[in-house]
C-alpha cells in the first residue's frame, strides 16, 4: 500500500520547513486582524498561542497517520474505509484542497483589484494566473519546493518593514491583558485556525520527502510551524500596537494599511510593491494545493496529472470569475475556513482513532489466523 517515489523526484527533509511554512502563509496574514479581535480583543495573542499548540498536536497526529505502510492520505483512506468508501473520502479531501487553492487565488485577485488595479477585469487576471500556474505546477514537485523555498527567502525582507509602524506604536492598546474568558479566547483561536491551514497537505507530499527516518521530517515540519507562529505573533502584536482596537475591527486589510506608512526618499506607496512581492508568497499555497489535488486523482483513479491539473485550473478560473462581489469572496473565505477546520482539527484526529481501531482488529485477525 505504501507509495514509493523515485529518488530523482524527491526533496530533502530540510525543505519540509519551507513547504509547511509557505503553505500556511497566504492571504490570511493580510486581513486576519479584524476577525481575531472580535472576541478576545487585545488578548487575541493568547488565542494565537492556543491555536499554535493545537496545530502542533495535529501535526503530530498527521505523522502518526503517515507512519508505517500508509504513507499518504489516499493509502490511509483505503486502509481505514476500504476501496470504495476510501476513494469517496479522498475525493472529498480533493474538493477541500481545491477550495483552499481557489480561496487564496480569489482573495489575492481581490487584493489586486482593491489596492492596485481597480479597473482590471477578473477574467483577465484569471487567464494570466492560470497560464502561470499551469506552467509552475506542471514542472513538478521539485520545482514547487524550490518555489516554496525562495518564496520564503526572497520576501523575507518585508518583515523588516515592521520598523515603520513600530515608530507610531502605543503600549496602552495591549492593556488590560488577561481580561477575557476562555470562551472568548477559544472563539478567537478558531478565527486564527484559518491562518495555520495548509500544513495538512503534507498528507500527500510526504512520500516525496527524502529522509532516512520519520523523525527528521517531523522535526523540520514542527520548526516550520513554529516559524509561522512567530511571524503571526509579531504581526498580531504590531498591528495591535499600531491600530486602535475599534479601528481594527472594521479595517478590511490591516496589514496592508500598516505598509502604507512605509516611506523612502525614492519610493512611496510601498503597499504596491508589497502586493506584487506577495505574489511569490501566494504562489506556493495555490500551486502546492493544486499539485496535491492532481496527486490524489492520480493515486485514487490513476488519472494523468496534467489532465486533472487542466480541469481543476479551468474550474478554478471559472469559479473565481463568478465571485463578483466583495461579500461573496468573504463568504468563500468563511466557508473554506470552516471546511478546513472541520477537516484538519476534527476529521484528522478521528481518522487516527479509526486507524488505531482498524490496527487493533487487523492484529487480532492475524493472531487468529496463525
Amino acid at each position: 500500500m505504501s507509495v514509493k517515489v523515485e529518488k530523482q523526484f524527491q526533496v530533502s527533509a530540510f525543505f519540509t520547513f519551507f513547504l509547511i511554512h509557505s503553505s500556511q502563509t497566504g492571504i490570511g496574514i493580510l486581513n486576519f486582524q479584524s476577525q481575531v479581535i472580535k472576541d478576545a480583543e487585545q488578548d487575541a495573542w493568547i488565542s494565537l498561542i492556543i491555536t499554535w499548540v493545537i496545530t502542533h498536536i495535529i501535526l503530530y497526529i498527521i505523522f502518526k497517520l503517515l507512519d508505517g505502510e500508509t504513507n499518504d492520505l489516499v493509502a490511509v483512506h483505503q486502509y481505514c474505509f476500504g476501496k470504495t468508501a476510501g476513494s469517496i473520502m479522498s475525493v472529498l479531501a480533493l474538493v477541500y484542497f481545491w477550495l483552499a487553492s481557489l480561496t487564496v487565488l480569489r482573495a489575492y485577485i481581490e487584493v489586486i483589484q482593491i489596492w492596485v488595479y481597480p479597473t482590471i477585469k477578473t477574467w483577465q487576471l484569471c487567464f494570466i494566473f492560470g497560464l502561470t500556474f499551469y506552467y509552475i505546477i506542471s514542472s513538478g514537485f521539485r520545482s514547487l519546493t524550490g518555489f516554496s523555498f525562495w518564496g520564503v527567502i526572497l520576501p523575507a525582507f518585508l518583515f523588516f518593514l515592521i520598523y515603520f509602524p513600530l515608530k507610531h506604536m502605543n503600549y496602552i492598546n495591549l492593556l488590560p491583558a488577561f481580561s477575557h474568558s476562555l470562551t472568548e479566547l477559544f472563539l478567537s483561536s478558531k478565527a486564527y485556525a484559518l491562518l495555520f491551514l495548509g500544513f495538512e497537505w503534507i498528507l500527500m507530499y510526504y512520500p516525496f520527502i527524502r529522509s532516512s527516518n520519520n523523525k527528521d521530517i517531523s522535526k523540520w515540519a514542527h520548526l516550520g510551524n513554529m516559524y509561522t507562529f512567530i511571524i503571526y505573533l509579531v504581526i498580531t502584536l504590531v498591528s495591535f500596537l499600531y491600530f486602535n482596537q475599534d479601528v481594527l475591527k472594521h479595517l478590511p486589510w490591516p496589514t496592508l494599511m500598516m505598509v502604507k506608512v512605509v516611506m523612502f526618499s525614492f519610493l512611496e506607496r510601498f503597499e504596491y510593491i508589497f502586493v506584487f512581492i506577495w505574489l511569490l508568497v501566494i504562489i506556493s499555497p495555490i500551486c502546492i494545493s493544486l499539485w496535491v489535488c492532481t496527486r490524489i486523482a492520480k493515486r485514487t483513479f490513476s488519472i494523468p496529472p496534467k489532465a486533472t491539473l487542466l480541469f481543476l485550473l479551468i474550474a478554478e478560473m471559472i469559479a473565481s470569475v463568478n465571485f463578483r462581489e466583495f461579500r461573496s469572496t468573504d463568504y468563500l473565505i468563511h466557508f473554506t475556513a470552516n471546511a478546513g477546520i472541520g477537516f484538519v482539527y476534527v476529521y484528522l484526529p478521528l481518522l487516527l482513532i479509526i486507524k488505531w481501531i482498524k490496527n487493533h482488529f487487523m492484529k487480532n485477525r492475524l493472531n487468529k489466523g496463525f
Binding site: V116, I128, Y135, G146, L267, Y272, L280
Partner: protein
C-alpha cells in the same frame, strides 16, 4: 544521413577519390615492382613530401640489386607514422587526413599508409582572448586546432591526472572531439553521461564546440546556456580543477565545460587574481548589473504606465517633464530605444572593429540625442536603457550576456500589460524554469536550489583562498579537497604582539 558502404574494395576507394581534382597518383618502379603513390595534394605537407619522401622513393628506384620486401620497405621509410593495412574504411579515413597511400602491383595484399599530413595549414597560431577580455591574468585563448588546444591545456596543467579521450563525430565533418577530465577527481558519472550523450549524436557537421551545447543538453527549450562555453585557457583549467568535464572539438576555438550552474556564468577568472575583497566586490557589482539590466526598462514601463504613485512627488516632476512631449505610450518608447541599442550592438558585432567603434559612437550619441530632441523618447529613459545595455556587458561569458539581452523583452511586454504584477509573474515563471533546468543531470540552480550552504562561499562573493579549498559538492568530485588550508600562524594576533 550518409550510409557507409561496408566491405569496400580498396580499388574503388581510389576510383572514388580520383574524381577530385586534388587527388594525384604517380607510378614508380621499386626493385622491379610497380608501385602507385597517391594522395590528396591539398592535405599533405609539401615540404616533407619533396624533401624527405620523394627523394627516398627515387633512391629506392635506383637500387635494383635487391629483391623487393614489403616489410623492409616499410621500416626504412624515414617518416614517423607508417602502417600497413587491408581495411578499406581505414584507408579512406586516413587518405582524408593527409596520408599517402602506396599500393603494390601483384606483390602484396597489404596497402601502405604514410603520414605526411599538414592539417594545421591555414590555422592561426595564437588567440588573444578578444571576446572574454580580462585586464589582469593570462590572455591566452584556444585556437582552431585540437592538438594545439590540448597542448595549451597540458602545458598549464602538467599533472598526470589530465586525461583525454577522443572520438570522431559528424557524418560529413568527421570532427575529432576530445573529452578532457581529471582522472580520480572528476566523478565518473559525469564522464559517463558526457560519453553517452556524445555517442548518441547523429549530426552532419560539428560547427563549433558551443554548438554541441544544444545537441547534448538536457533541456532543449531554454534560452539559458547549460554549459559554460569559453575561449579562455585559465577558465577551462579552473573548471577542470573543480571536477567538471571539458569538451573540445577540432576546428573550434572554444571549449565547453559542464555540469555548470547559473552562477558559474557570472564568475570571471579575474576574481581569483585580485585579492578576495576586491574580487567579491566586482562579483557583487556584476550580479547587481545583471539584475539591473534585466529589470530596469520594464520597471520604467511599469512605473510610468501604471504606478506613478510610487514615485515621490519631488522625483515625479522631472519624470513628467521629460515625458511631456513624447507622443507614444511608454512601452513603444522603450521598445524603440531598446531596438536601437540592439541594432547598434548587432551591427557592431558584424562590422570590422575600427568601423564598429566609430559606428558605436555615432549611433549611441547622435541617435540617442536626436531621438530625445525629436521627442521620440524621454531623457530619463535614454539614461535607463543606455545603463542597462552597459550593465549587460559586464557578464563575463558571451552566451549568458546574449540570454540577458533576450530576457529583457518578455519583461517589457509583461510590464506593459500588467505593470508590476506582470514583472513578478514573469519573474516567477523564469524562476520556475530555472529550477527545472539541468546540466548533465545536475541541477542548474545549485547552490540556490537545491540549497547548499557550503557552496555559497564561492558564489555571490569570492571568499579567501583558505576558505574555498574544497570542490563544490554538487559536482561530487572523488577528491573533495583542492589544497590544504592550514592557518600559518594559529596564534591570535594582538596589538603589537611580538
Amino acid at each position: 544521413m550518409i550510409k557507409e558502404k561496408k566491405n569496400q574494395n580498396p580499388a574503388e576507394i581510389v576510383k572514388r577519390a580520383k574524381k577530385s581534382s586534388d587527388f594525384k597518383e604517380i607510378k614508380k618502379n621499386v626493385s622491379g615492382v610497380k608501385i602507385f603513390i597517391s594522395c590528396f595534394t591539398s592535405l599533405i605537407d609539401h615540404k616533407t613530401m619533396e624533401q624527405v619522401f620523394l627523394p627516398y622513393i627515387n633512391e629506392c628506384e635506383k637500387k635494383t640489386d635487391q629483391a623487393f620486401d614489403i616489410n623492409q620497405f616499410k621500416n626504412s621509410i624515414p617518416l614517423e607514422e607508417v602502417m600497413t593495412t587491408q581495411d578499406a574504411k581505414e584507408i579512406e579515413e586516413k587518405l582524408h587526413k593527409g596520408f599517402v597511400l602506396i599500393t603494390f602491383e601483384n606483390t602484396s595484399e597489404d596497402w601502405l599508409l604514410v603520414n605526411v599530413s599538414n592539417l594545421s595549414k591555414g590555422i592561426r597560431e595564437t588567440n588573444e582572448t578578444e571576446n572574454e577580455y580580462s585586464v589582469t591574468g593570462p590572455k591566452l585563448g584556444f585556437v582552431e586546432s585540437l592538438d594545439t588546444n590540448i597542448l595549451l591545456l597540458r602545458s598549464k596543467l602538467k599533472s598526470p591526472l589530465v586525461t583525454t579521450e577522443e572520438l570522431t563525430l559528424g557524418t560529413l565533418s568527421k570532427t575529432r572531439v576530445a573529452i578532457v577530465y581529471l582522472d580520480g577527481i572528476t566523478n565518473e558519472k559525469h564522464i559517463e553521461t558526457v560519453k553517452k550523450r556524445l555517442a548518441k549524436i547523429d549530426f552532419d557537421i560539428i560547427w563549433d564546440t558551443s554548438a554541441l551545447d544544444e545537441i547534448i543538453r538536457d533541456n532543449s527549450h531554454t534560452p539559458f546556456p547549460l554549459y559554460l562555453s569559453t575561449e579562455r585557457l585559465d577558465r577551462i583549467c579552473y573548471t577542470l580543477s573543480l571536477g567538471q568535464v571539458v569538451i573540445f572539438s577540432d576546428g573550434s576555438p572554444s571549449a565547453i565545460s559542464g555540469p555548470s550552474t547559473l552562477l558559474d556564468f557570472f564568475i570571471s577568472p579575474e576574481d581569483y587574481y585580485y585579492n578576495w575583497i576586491v574580487g567579491s566586490f566586482f562579483r557583487l557589482i556584476r550580479i547587481f548589473a545583471i539584475i539591473f539590466s534585466i529589470f530596469s526598462s520594464s520597471l520604467y514601463v511599469a512605473v510610468v504606465t501604471f504606478h506613478y504613485e510610487v514615485v515621490p512627488a519631488d522625483l515625479l516632476g522631472p519624470l513628467i517633464e521629460s515625458r511631456a512631449n513624447v507622443p507614444f505610450p511608454p512601452v513603444m518608447e522603450v521598445l524603440f530605444l531598446e531596438m536601437t541599442i540592439e541594432l547598434l550592438r548587432e551591427a557592431g558585432a558584424r562590422l570590422p572593429t575600427k568601423v564598429g567603434q566609430t559606428l558605436g559612437i555615432v549611433g549611441g550619441i547622435v541617435i540617442g540625442q536626436a531621438a530625445v530632441m525629436a521627442a521620440l523618447t524621454s531623457n530619463i529613459l535614454l539614461i535607463v536603457v543606455a545603463l542597462s545595455a552597459l550593465a549587460s556587458f559586464t557578464t563575463p561569458t558571451m552566451s549568458m550576456s546574449n540570454t540577458i539581452r533576450l530576457l529583457r523583452f518578455p519583461f517589457i511586454i509583461m510590464s506593459s500589460l500588467l505593470g508590476g504584477l506582470g514583472i513578478m509573474l514573469g519573474f516567477a515563471v523564469i524562476l520556475c524554469h530555472l529550477f527545472k533546468l539541468k546540466s548533465f543531470e545536475t541541477p542548474y540552480m545549485v547552490p540556490l536550489y537545491p540549497f547548499r550552504r557550503n557552496n555559497f562561499k564561492d558564489s555571490f562573493i569570492r571568499s579567501p583562498y583558505s576558505v574555498i579549498n574544497k570542490r563544490p559538492d554538487y559536482l561530487r568530485a572523488k577528491d573533495t579537497i583542492k589544497y590544504s588550508s592550514k592557518e600559518k600562524n594559529k596564534k591570535k594576533e594582538d596589538i603589537n604582539d611580538e
